[in-house]
Symmetry: C2
Subunit: 235 residues, 2 copies
DNA sequence: GAGTGGTCTAGACCACTTG
DNA sequence: AAGTGGTCTAGACCACTCT
């Protein structure tokens, strides 16, 4: 009947027993050996199933003891964020406002304690000729390498930062807030009175934990499109 | 020297070859058989390593062909969200404003096409006696079960919804935006003129995809604390 | 038909926890 | 000492792709 491989049938059976409450958080599952005997299969196959249940957040293996049913994580979401997808109907229209070298003492406080110089890049992002977002980015300045506008085509921030870093090894942080905007930003975005703006602060760290990129993205309320979904989709 | 298990050493070696650019996105790795021979180990162990690299987003297996090096996902973040942790300095102080049964025709449009009645619950959340957030939640009304205030202690929304659902099987969605707030909300939160508000819209679905919970959380700009981090932390 | 990954088995030895 | 999960082996058969 079921074309599913054995280990997947086992995954589903155990999953069902957990979701239906036959096993409660904190309970201990039958041992690998017992499961193998019960389902008439090998320990290897049982382990494959259990490792999937572990990766999906259902159970936790404890060496020498057994597999414990976990409290489900109810507050974990996956957020896909890039400058491109967080602006509604964004087609890619941008205007470069500034590319300049910023001396150490004029950096925002988030970067001030690093003793590096940074390149500051400012953009406006448009939707249908209307300004929808304003973006400021700081990248470490590499001595000797001139800043060429053409090089800074509007990729995602991690891609800009990681020119000579592997994209696999960087760490990133987002902070979402609703700032009180300066008159400058208000003018740039042509804000109506009372119109609000969302700010997304982005930090990028190297594998060694060094801050190698900082960005602030200000999005007009109407154009903002930020969606997150529960992490474990179970297929 | 290295106390690491064989399969982890293999993971790290291949990972390094990918991050250092010896293998580029789109490249195909040596076959399981070749790797087993090269590293003088069994195919099973090689497969264990490769499955880890797959789960961490480095490679994609293609049956009949081989393992392909993937483009790294640069825009995936993990967001931990709950009513408790998204409000800065929140200690748990709440005031229940309303618990009422809402007939089908008076529901917000997001719930209107379900032909169920919903219970509407409205709260104010305080930080140091100051209103910091305003919360509206809709839960399916279960006929015969009276709504008892004491039952609605302020747990996280998924916990409220899932009283008789397993928390493992629900799906959730968040939408973050900056709304133009009504006068009612402005008064409730005692907003200053020009002060902005962040809205987090939360939908909860049953395993079968039915909407079983809808919530709107309005947070005053100053109190908002939303942070997301890159998904793959690689330990 | 040769090569690939996908599934599965029946063992082995280890470090650890528990009585 | 018995039981548990962690690691590892050396096979087997399958469905698939490529040529």
């Amino acid at each position: 009947m079921t074309g599913l491989p054995l280990y997947m049938q086992l995954v589903n059976q155990i999953k069902e027993q957990i979701t239906k409450g036959h096993f409660l958080p904190g309970d201990i599952l039958p041992s690998e050996h017992e499961l193998a005997a019960k389902y008439n299969t090998s320990r290897t196959t049982v382990r494959k199933s259990l490792s999937i249940l572990f990766s999906e957040g259902y159970i936790i293996p404890v060496p020498g003891k057994g597999y414990f049913v976990k409290e489900p994580e109810v507050d974990s979401y996956t957020l896909y964020f890039s400058e491109k997808n967080c602006i509604e109907n964004y087609s890619g229209e941008t205007k470069l406002l500034e590319v300049s070298l910023v001396p150490t003492d004029q950096l925002p406080r988030q970067l001030a304690d690093l003793k590096d110089s940074f390149v500051k890049i400012r953009w406006l992002l448009y939707v249908d000729k209307e300004p929808a977002a304003y973006d400021i980015k700081y990248l470490p300045y590499e001595k000797g390498k001139p800043i060429i506008e053409k090089e800074i085509r509007y990729a995602t921030f991690p891609e800009m930062v990681a020119k000579h870093q592997s994209l696999f090894s960087i760490k990133k942080t987002l902070r979402i807030s609703v700032p009180v905007v300066s008159r400058e930003i208000s003018n740039l975005l042509k804000l109506d009175t009372g119109e609000s703006v969302l700010m997304i602060e982005q930090k990028i760290f190297s594998e060694q934990g060094k801050l190698i990129g900082y960005g602030q993205l200000f999005i007009r309320g109407n154009y903002c499109n930020l969606v997150a979904t529960s992490s474990y989709l179970h297929e």
